[in-house]
């Protein structure tokens, strides 16, 4: 794919991924067929900033985990008062990374 398009994608979507994943994403996009561009452009990613806000406000109810698609973990959190409050606290620090991981998985699903 055209490197201009790839840079445009990285610029507008860079914040949704870990920095170490960006190089891989760039390589994959460069090697990708042009016909997939329109599809890649339309993927909706979850914003890590949104998930940290949700985590701080409603992390004890597991809403942050439901938001990024970890339904099972969300239920676990909801049923245990946010893992006795400890898990809710730990998730304030983990949720942004987890969101980026989920985004990366989603991106990879579109590759193949």
């Amino acid at each position: 794919m055209d490197s201009n398009k790839v840079d445009m994608f990285i610029l507008s979507n860079g914040k949704f991924f870990e920095s170490n994943q960006l190089m891989y994403i760039r390589e994959q996009l460069l090697a990708m067929d042009d016909s997939k561009w329109s599809m890649i452009q339309t993927i909706q990613f979850k914003d890590p900033t949104t998930s940290i806000i949700v985590s701080i406000l409603a992390g004890g109810l597991g809403i942050d985990r439901f938001l990024i698609g970890d339904t099972g973990l969300g239920l676990g959190k909801l049923f245990t008062c946010g893992g006795l409050g400890i898990w809710a606290l730990v998730d304030w620090f983990l949720i942004m990374g987890a969101t980026r991981e989920r985004n990366f998985t989603k991106f990879q699903q579109f590759l193949y």
Partner: protein, 137 residues
């Protein structure tokens, strides 16, 4: 998409371990009030969260009082069921190098995401929450 087998098994084991520690602590009257209620939501807002009362429910069930357990919080039954089954399921998987629990977890997650399952569940949990607030757990 979803959690890896290794992470899931570590997480569930931590879950069961802390769950059993918590239960044993609350079964012994000397330890029951050392930590006290930990629900952040209840402390912050003054109203109980959807799963408040689950510990008391589990204790009631262990003492053989099913009705009291349901009245405290039905979620306690689900949790105690999980605590009773999951450790053995995990051990079975680890011993035989299988991944049946991971497969089960993924299929349940997939099922819960379907609209016709998700909405009734959400309504149930909200109703249970309203009941919790009404009871003043």
């Amino acid at each position: 998409m979803g959690i890896s087998r290794r992470n899931l098994y570590i997480l569930i084991m931590l879950f069961c371990l802390s769950g059993y520690t918590w239960l044993v602590m609350h079964l012994d009257s000397r330890w029951a009030n050392v930590v006290g209620p930990v629900c952040v939501f209840k402390k912050a807002t003054g109203i109980p969260c959807p799963s408040c009362g689950a510990t008391r429910s589990m204790i009631a069930l262990i003492n053989g009082d099913f009705l009291k357990a349901v009245l405290w919080n039905p979620i306690g039954l689900v949790l105690l069921g999980g605590l009773a089954i999951f450790p053995f399921w995990l051990l079975h998987d680890l011993a035989l190098k299988k991944n049946s629990f991971h497969v089960f977890y993924a299929s349940v997650e997939k099922k819960i995401r379907q609209k016709h399952v998700a909405w009734p569940l959400i309504v149930l949990i909200l109703l249970n929450w309203c009941w919790n607030i009404y009871k003043g757990v």
